[in-house]
């Protein structure tokens, strides 16, 4: 039996959709639905995470409200996804962080910044407020060992928590008894990397309004690849450091070039997504604090990173660096308890879809 009202609603809606099927060209959700005659909860949670929330099936639905059938697939799947994130949170007692996510993320990040600034200036003393130049300048503000331990530990914790959540999700809503094959991973990676199902099956998704548009897909690409470039910059910098070249690095160095490109991607992507969200049709796309807080956090990470870059030769560097580190720490710690998780669950759902599709019969049941 369905464990929540939203799961019940998802079952009701999928039963209507499965008798209609007009939307099957839009994305993966409907072909996956057509492989089923009934919708147990674990499958609904899978379908919900397969849904990209593009809105096409809402704007093209003959049964959308105010029709009495009141079919709104993006809305119900959005709610089921959020429940699913909380359901698989690790450790479980932190699941309530998903309920008031914007508040939790905001408090965690603000707290982290305050701790960095207060502890940093108190411990480092006057050097924190002096202009620094040359190799190792950042470590005069926060000692190298402290940075490695703090960020290493928090990053490792986030990875662990995310991995445990994914494992729990796959156990409940993955392909029973299967680990994704290499081919399934390949398919899911390719579909994720292209955001294939944000194209609405043609001209783009109906977001922010009913006109098909690729804008969300592009801004998500900026955000996602910006994030990856920033991550790559961090990894390269860690290698540099390992081989005895401490930060800061010159403008033309690979870490700064990668980080700057990624930072620009994050700025363009997050501002674009926030702007689209602000004018989006709320019926299929409820504006949730979780989305906004994650976007703001990415935006802040990029913006404070650029401030450090621009003002690293001035006395403001120390404070700016501490704020930037505080924001990054906030981002790391909240990764497993916020919007970031959507990417991993989406990937898992796409992997299951790849498995299902590989073994599906060619055609659905006959029909009049």
């Amino acid at each position: 039996m369905a464990s929540t009202d939203w799961v019940k609603e998802a079952e009701r809606v999928m039963t209507i959709c499965n008798a209609c099927r007009y939307c099957e060209g839009h994305c993966a959700v409907f072909p996956a639905m057509e492989l089923r005659l009934s919708f147990p909860e674990q499958d609904l949670r899978y379908l919900a995470n397969l849904c990209h929330g593009c809105g096409s099936c809402f704007h093209h639905c003959q049964y959308a409200p105010p029709h009495e059938f009141n079919v709104n697939v993006p809305r119900v799947f959005d709610a089921v996804r959020r429940e699913t994130y909380a359901r698989h949170a690790w450790p479980a007692f932190l699941a309530p962080l998903f309920d008031r996510n914007a508040l939790a993320t905001g408090i965690a990040t603000a707290f982290s910044c305050v701790v960095f600034v207060v502890a940093g200036t108190a411990l480092a003393g006057p050097p924190a407020l002096r202009a620094h130049l040359g190799p190792g300048a950042f470590y005069e503000v926060v000692p190298h060992g402290v940075m490695v331990v703090l960020f290493g530990l928090s990053f490792a914790y986030s990875i662990l928590a995310l991995a445990m959540a994914c494992r729990a999700f796959w156990r409940e809503s993955g392909e029973p008894g299967h680990r994704p094959s290499l081919a399934a991973h390949g398919r899911a990676s390719w579909d994720s990397a292209r955001l294939r199902y944000l194209d609405g099956g043609g001209d783009g998704c109906t977001y922010p309004d009913e006109r098909p548009s690729m804008s969300r897909r592009w801004f998500h690409h900026f955000t996602f690849y910006g994030f990856l470039l920033c991550f790559a910059a961090t990894c390269v910098a860690a290698l540099y450091d390992w081989f005895g070249r401490p930060a800061p690095y010159p403008w033309w160095s690979p870490p700064v070039v990668l980080g700057s490109a990624g930072g620009i991607g994050l700025l363009v992507g997050t501002i674009g997504l926030l702007a689209l969200k602000a004018k989006s049709d709320e019926a299929p796309n409820p504006r949730m604090g979780m989305d906004v807080s994650f976007l703001l956090l990415l935006l802040l990470t990029s913006a404070t990173g650029f401030l450090v870059l621009f003002f690293r030769a001035t006395p403001a560097m120390g404070i700016l660096l501490l704020v930037h580190l505080g924001v990054v720490m906030g981002l790391f710690l909240t990764l497993p308890y916020g919007k970031f998780i959507h990417g991993l669950f989406r990937y898992a759902a796409l992997a299951r879809y790849a498995i299902e599709r590989a073994k599906a019969p060619a055609a659905g049941p006959p029909e009049g």
Binding site: Y22, H60, P66
Partner: protein, 484 residues
Amino acid sequence: MKRTGNTDLSGPWDVLVLGGGNAGLCAAITARQTGATVLVLESAPRDFRGGNSRHTRNLRTMHPRADGILTGPYLEDEFWDDLWRVTGGKTNEALARLTIRGSADFGEWMPRHGVRFQPPLGGTLHLGRTNAFFLGGGKALVNAYYRAAEALGAKVAYGAEVMDLDVRDGEFSAAVVSFRGAIESVPARAVVAASGGFEANIPWLKESWGEVAENFIVRGTPYNQGRVLRALLDRGAKQVGDARQCHAVAVDGRAPKFDGGIVTRVDCVPFGVVVNQNGERFYDEGEDFWPKRYAIWGRLVAQQPGQIGYVIIDSKPLGRFMPTVFPPVVAGSIRELAVALRLDPQAVEATVSSFNASVRPGAFDPASLDDCRTQGLQPPKSHWAVAIDRPPYHGYSLRPGITFTYLGVGVDDRARILMADGGPSANLFAAGEIMAGNILGQGYLAGLGMTIGTVFGRIAGREAAMLAARRPVAVREVASDGIH
């Protein structure tokens, strides 16, 4: 987002389009491209705009070769043969061939105005060669056409119901429109009637069917009241099609009275038996493939007492037919199922056991007209007759679900409405379901309604715009008795 048109109706307009479904929008786009000022009067509010086009999903097109969406060629002669066969010859060959040839450029014209196609939907592969499916279905098409029409500068008024037309001697001067609580007269140089049939007008249906029409379910929009059709016929337009005929399929008895659309169908009839209120069978459930037979079951059920039927299957065919929107009534025995369906259990048990006893052994094959049939049973079941003996048993109630009506106005090859006295009207044009009876005199061909609407919508829009460019508005007082 703007949810309602904020349109000032006052004309005069070059072209007034009555009805904002597929045909009306094709007319509006074409008329606007020809340079005319255009107002579309849509009786539904914005959320329910588009008439029955909202519920469609494909149209039939003539095409010389497979193209990635359509799986093979479909040429004029085969299209014509199909049309001739389903109508039993009740078609106007000139207009039918005009429609068929006019469909050849759909693959180019429709995408230019925002419509996207996709391969046939799951379970509709038998239409994959002849019919092009709309990505997202009919509402996506309607949305695209509204965007295209408005981008070209056509105006749209929602919730604008045409109450009557001022037509004298075949010449239109103004429409009488109920809009925002007031009655307005909207003058125009030419008018395109694209307002569909009267299938949602139960009192009108009763004129042909009697009180039983009260038990009909209307599968499409509740806004097809047929007021424009009535006004045109009352003002001397030539009638085509049989007022007593309508296209009706059997739908789930629990379907909403209006607008249930595609999901209310029940496709398991060939796999079971259908009984009436008295628990008796009344027609061969396995006469032919379901896609060829589902359209007769509305009428069959309409002829039964109470206009209701009940299909009964066992658990063997589950998964062989499209899932239903309402759950079946399920029971462990035929007797319990009959009780749950509020039928006489003894009568139903007797029907099922005599059916089971008459089933001859055969090789069951849903993909062919197999040799599983009954012997000595009246009425027989000619194919797919397999004993109903594996519980749990499933039952659905069936009601007649009206899709469209055949009654319409006569038109010529320029979409001009013909008057009862024979000649064409001066400035009245028609497109879509309101004139489909010229071509589809009876029967049904999947996707043909949208084909007729697209071809004649464009002809009507072009002809109306060209006429309007050289014609003054007919100025006169609106008749005081003009509102019905």
